[in-house]
């Protein structure tokens, strides 16, 4: 695909969602027929703390333009403390990516409960818009994986 930068650009967005809150929140936005862009593809993980920084980098390598991580609100983790660890890990990772000059708006972490279907949809819309504005991921891509 010859990317005509910024026009007709459809970002690839990977969303990691914890099974107990955010994935359910995503389901709820479906149940309520709340629209958000098709660009977002969800990967279910048991807990946000299952998300290894490796997965996030992997997504960028393989052509993702934005990665968003969703988990239970702090204090509500199904496993009591998982998302607290997530928060530290991901804060540091995002800060490091920023340090390396990777655009901040390509990464995001959002706490979405099972009841927040509307928040889920709105977040995804917002995030997709932000990434779309940035254009294709060029700073953290693997040229070998670029679609021809």
């Amino acid at each position: 695909m010859q990317v005509n930068e910024n026009t007709n650009f459809e970002p690839v967005i990977v969303a990691f969602c914890c099974n107990w809150c955010s994935y359910a929140g995503a389901d709820l936005s479906g149940t309520n027929r709340l629209n958000y862009p098709t660009n977002v593809k969800i990967i279910r993980v048991p807990c946000s703390c299952r998300v290894n920084p490796m997965f996030i980098l992997r997504a960028f390598q393989r052509g993702a333009d934005g990665v968003i991580l969703c988990g239970c609100h702090p204090g509500d983790c199904h496993y009591t403390s998982g998302n607290y660890f997530t928060r530290r890990r991901i804060t540091l990772l995002y800060s490091m990516l920023d340090f390396l000059g990777i655009e901040r708006d390509r990464t995001r972490l959002e706490w979405v409960s099972a009841a927040e279907g509307a928040k889920f949809a709105a977040t995804m819309q917002e995030f997709t818009d932000a990434v779309r504005k940035l254009g294709p991921n060029r700073r953290l891509e693997d040229l070998r994986c670029r679609k021809q």
Binding site: R62, G63, D142, R144, C145, K147, Q148
Partner: protein
């Protein structure tokens, strides 16, 4: 001898670059030198040598071998080799120039490595005689005269002029193409420079390092030496020595799934790495001792055994200055010689 004033070097480089891609050692911000593509403003480095050796031009760190498309039970092999373009590497030191001969003995013997061969055919090597050898230099040990470097074209500098001599047809053609810039001149000043350099060479701390106790016939004697334990005990098992070495030639072949096909590439590998000889069911070189031994045995014993006594080292001294723990071939040679 054909020569050109050093002051006109930019003109010279521009002329070369107008015909083919020109690479030469240039200084980096951190004070070290690396080969860089010449373009307006790039200056020839005054450092003795580059961090990475010149082998990269013929045997790059990674290169794709082929691509595969898979669908259902079918596999399609795509030959992705391209005809490479002519290029010139300028300012190769005598040690690196000799390393090409050594690599040739691996890659140009049957079955020929066509990837290497193609680049070798397209590259013209212009060497540069040394004038300020460093304490880490020991190329003389391997019979290299840094004041008489090999290559398609040999080049000398006495500070005012660059002098050129073609050694091959390719080199001659190269010099012919620059004939408008080059003039014939006397070499008295150059001979003086050479003599000075030779004097320094005789005073180098490693000038006495000799290969007389090494070679293919020492196989079992050195393999069983008790020194390996002590020598290898501080080795980190990194690949620095291997990757800065101009003669290290080992590689790995790997597949990479790009999402729309499989790329098979090869990349430098190091016998110092713990997974170098690892198989699904075991590893013949389990400890760093064995891996460490392999590297030096290869250069000092196995390689000469297979190549009429030629050693797999050119004494460039890179490993001496770059090894994180300062273990190197000179220390190994000296230790092995001790009885």
């Amino acid at each position: 001898m054909l020569r050109i004033p050093v002051a006109k070097s930019d003109e010279l480089f521009a002329a070369i670059a107008s015909q083919q891609t020109l690479y030469l050692p240039a200084d980096r911000k951190d004070g070290q030198a690396e080969y860089r593509k010449w373009e307006e403003g790039v200056k020839l480095s005054s450092r003795l040598n580059t961090v990475r050796s010149a082998k990269d031009f013929f045997f790059p760190q990674t290169e794709n071998l082929a691509e595969f498309r898979m669908e259902g039970k079918k596999i399609e092999v795509i030959d992705i080799r391209k005809e490479s373009e002519d290029f010139v590497i300028f300012g190769v030191r005598a040690c690196d120039a000799r390393s090409f001969t050594i690599l040739d003995k691996v890659y140009l013997v049957d079955p020929v490595d066509t990837f290497y061969q193609t680049r070798r055919e397209h590259g013209t090597v212009v060497t540069m005689a040394c004038t300020r050898p460093a304490e880490t230099c020991f190329c003389q040990t391997f019979g290299i005269d840094p004041t008489e470097p090999e290559g398609d074209v040999s080049c000398w500098s006495d500070g005012s002029y660059y002098y050129f001599r073609a050694n091959t047809d390719k080199g001659q053609k190269f010099l012919d193409s620059l004939s408008s810039l080059l003039e014939d001149g006397d070499t008295a000043a150059l001979e003086e420079t050479k003599a000075k350099t030779k004097e320094i060479l005789s005073k180098l701390p490693l000038a006495k390092v000799s290969t007389e106790n090494f070679g293919g016939d020492k196989l079992n004697e050195y393999f069983r030496s008790e020194k390996w334990g002590e020598l290898s005990e501080s080795c980190l098992g990194c690949g620095t020595c291997t990757f800065v070495c101009p003669t290290c030639q080992c590689y790995d072949i790997r597949d990479f799934d790009t999402g729309h096909g499989i790329q098979r590439f090869r990349c430098w590998d190091s016998c110092m790495y713990s997974d170098f000889t690892k198989m699904a069911h075991g590893n013949p070189r389990l400890t760093q001792l064995e891996r460490f031994r392999q590297r030096f045995m290869h250069k000092l014993v196995y390689f000469p055994a297979n190549n009429n006594g030629e050693f797999g080292c050119v004494g460039c001294g890179r490993c001496l200055s770059k090894c994180p723990i300062s273990m190197n071939i000179v220390k190994v040679m000296k230790a092995l010689e001790e009885k």
